[in-house]
Symmetry: C2
């Protein structure tokens, strides 16, 4: 079934909007009676909303899930294009991501993963393409370079951040940690500029932007260090946890399990294609109006709406000042992720950085397609931002530019992507904060507002920005609401 | 409230059996009607049983929890001795332990931890006390020595085990991994003997036994490598994940949350002091007889009984051959864990290895008690095994022998311990396998038997042996039973 979301370009068919995914829900709703008073309405069917809805329904609440899209997964979903799962957003998982891995084990999916990298085949090289340095090297040399550069970048305390952020879930446990949130990645690079070799600088800058999808000036150094701490304070940990293991059958094969389990409770209603426009807190409960004008009522709402979209909804009463301020600052991540199917088997073990002159800056061989071609995934962001569907020839050139010039240009058979910047329900990719946002507003973002609990990976404590943070937040929100409504207390319950 | 479990010796009062813990449940039962037919009986109130019982109750099943002890927590519980939480068994937690950390976040306890090590005070040294080498060194030197030794030990494939065990949750994913389970730690040491310096050998052997609590001959090399892989294939990861963060108020402050949440469902009954003697599968359900002769009935049972205790229960029909064979081989871990309160503040940053001539072999400064003394925790195992309560003078000497001779002997104010070897409900400490047990019987241990699901950290896939593995297994078992009984299907449900 084909979602409205995403784009696919092929030589044969040109550019087409919409790609097939098992994450599409059809029919889009199972609501038959619109006058039900639910226990809780969950807004948003990404991992956070799915977790909240599933948990609340499992533990005895009557749940309605509302989603503007035609599919589940939010900023993480996979295609099923000629049998191949291109990951349109959040992709990689690891057992160090506690909430994700717990759910994967619960669904017995912990073995259902495969490694992105396969450094055993064909053109087994890292290419660095930068005005300062052009080089082709082994992956061991690539790692050495990045280990050295990232160590210098992170070493604010002589122990690579361990003293400043000893417990990453308590990100501002030390005063020093808070001070780091006043620095941008650019500020930090300036501090250590004298220590960095040109090669180190040429790989460090794009590596940082791979985290933030922004510019160096708009990237909080603290938030980079938070990721770094979560990854064990080391580059090798970043590789392990951020870019190694992915679902053999795609993210949507995981997300659908949450949805199906919620359905099995028989306490779970849903309506897709139902963008929420107005959330009214009546004191006794909430009344939610969607784009079609339909209204839904519940005792509580769990808003899983991302930070950058909060202001697109009308809130009555209005959102508190701190939350509005946080939303005005916003998530700065405008990652462009472009998948390219290239008819060159030998690129399977290739990786590359092209910086700073290209729209795409970092790419890796990510798989082999059923047609036997190499699947390469490329990343760009707010640095030289582009909208890949607006000029597909430019997008192809940006992919081609990832490779050092050779006799033969790479032959692009297919491009697949989701434009997260234009996406009305995301307005950006995974969360990344500019300097100051977290120090000033993390608590504001997490605060509830009357009968509405705000849950989103954007303000998770652990793997903030990740699928894991989404599940963390959905878990938190469902428990908070379930404890309040206490479906186990028969005298109190509306069940 | 004082449990029957554990021992405390003080200068003033001598040796006393039983120590206070918030994990004690009083009154020990809330069962009023003994003729209830439950959905599921859970046997064992360690983390596995607590998780299974809680989840099943939360998701709509009527649950009875049976436990032989007077307290929750199984092989993980903490005292409340003069306001100080001595950890009698499983202690340390980390966000790399997915199930544990997920639960900690769910209970908003992720900040409720503190670090064991404090290498900033007093006598900040590592002492190595071995006939081959006697040395006092900095903790940086200690780490270097152990990093070097453990790398040599683990490097079976040129990449420290990453190729052989790429995905530790799928422990036998490669043929090579299975072959490692035919080797003992001793066999592996023999392979690399020529590469090890005397110092390296003197720290490596006790480090391995800190994992297994056994002898080198009875320690599976594969299982060591499984731990190693879970810890990120490195010594520093072992430190981070195995021995750094502990609950400020002790493990029982965590376990009690599971119990209290189960109670809040109002679908949860429990009976402590109720050792299970007979589990009879009637085909239609199960009938469980406890030591008092009382019988309880349910549709299903979840046995959270440890491997070494399985044969103490009568099973009708008898357990399958594979499970009996696994139980006959058994968990080889006979760790002795002795806490010593020592009136020397300066020992807070001390660590030591005494090997191989002492009953206790590894110790660290673990905290400062309310009286201002240093809390040192010491580990021994099946190598020179002792029963610490049988000869308290010998136990004191074994603690004293952990320190290199100085002008003044350490002044022991208090000893606290649990004799896990004599414990009838554990018959050993956390699970560790001898060569062959996992390769031959991991699937047998995990298999269900009619209406009985077997769940225990002893055969978890991830953090096997850990609290995390217990929660993993309890989660799996509860979901399996809940899906079968389907309380959401009103026509089918007995509710």
């Amino acid at each position: 079934m084909t979602s409205r979301d995403g784009y696919c370009w092929t030589k044969k068919d040109g550019l087409k909007a919409g790609v097939p995914t098992i994450g599409l829900i059809n029919p889009p709703t199972n609501v038959t009676d619109e006058n039900v008073n639910y226990d809780v309405v969950v807004i948003g069917a990404g991992y956070c909303g799915l977790t909240a809805a599933r948990n609340a329904a499992l533990e005895g609440l009557r749940v309605l899930l509302l989603e503007g899209r035609d599919r589940i997964g939010g900023r993480s979903w996979s295609t099923n294009l000629d049998g191949y799962p291109y990951e349109m957003g959040g992709t990689w998982v690891h057992w160090g991501q506690s909430n994700t891995w717990r759910e994967m084990m619960r669904y017995e999916m912990e073995k259902d993963v495969e490694e992105s990298a396969d450094f055993s085949r064909g053109y087994n090289q890292f290419e660095l393409n930068s005005p300062a340095v052009t080089a082709s090297m082994s992956h061991e040399e690539e790692d050495e370079l990045l280990i050295s550069a990232t160590k210098k970048f992170a070493n604010v305390d002589g122990v690579f951040g361990r003293k400043v952020i000893p417990l990453p879930h308590d990100t501002f446990r030390t005063e020093e940690a808070k001070a780091l949130d006043r620095l941008s990645a650019k500020d930090r690079i300036d501090q250590i500029a004298a220590e960095l070799t040109p090669k180190e600088l040429a790989v460090l800058e794009p590596f940082i932007l791979l985290f933030s999808g922004s510019t160096l000036e708009k990237t909080s150094f603290h938030e980079y260090m938070h990721w770094w701490a979560m990854c064990g304070y080391r580059y090798e940990g970043c590789l392990d946890m951020l870019i190694t293991w992915k679902f053999r059958r795609g993210q949507s094969s995981f997300a659908i399990r949450f949805f199906e389990e919620a359905v099995a409770t028989k306490r779970f209603s849903y309506a897709f294609n139902s963008a929420v426009k107005l959330v009214k807190d009546t004191g006794a409960g909430v009344e939610i109006t969607v784009a079609s004008g339909k209204k839904y009522r519940a005792a509580r709402a769990i808003s899983a709406i991302p930070l950058n979209v909060l202001r697109e909804v009308t809130w009555d009463p209005p959102l508190p000042k701190g939350k509005v301020a946080a939303a005005s600052v916003g998530n700065v991540n405008q990652t462009i992720k472009v998948h390219a199917e290239i008819s060159d088997k030998d690129l399977r073990s290739w990786t590359g950085i092209t910086w700073p002159h290209n729209e795409l800056i970092y790419a890796i061989g990510d798989g082999t397609t059923p047609a036997g071609n190499t699947h390469v995934v490329c990343f760009g962001g707010d640095h030289k931002h582009m909208h890949p569907e607006e000029n597909i020839e430019k997008t192809k050139r940006a992919v081609e530019n990832m490779f050092l010039p050779k006799d033969k240009k790479p032959e692009i058979e297919r491009l697949v992507f989701h434009n997260w910047t234009k996406d009305e329900f995301a307005k950006g990719a995974w969360f990344f904060s500019p300097p100051g946002l977290l120090a000033d507003h993390l608590d504001d973002m997490r605060a509830r507002h009357g009968n509405v609990v705000f849950a989103n990976s954007d303000w998770a404590l652990g793997w903030r920005s990740f699928i894991d943070g989404a599940i963390e937040e959905g878990t938190r929100a469902a428990l908070e609401v379930r404890k309040e409504l206490d479906p186990f207390n028969q005298s109190k319950s509306s069940l």
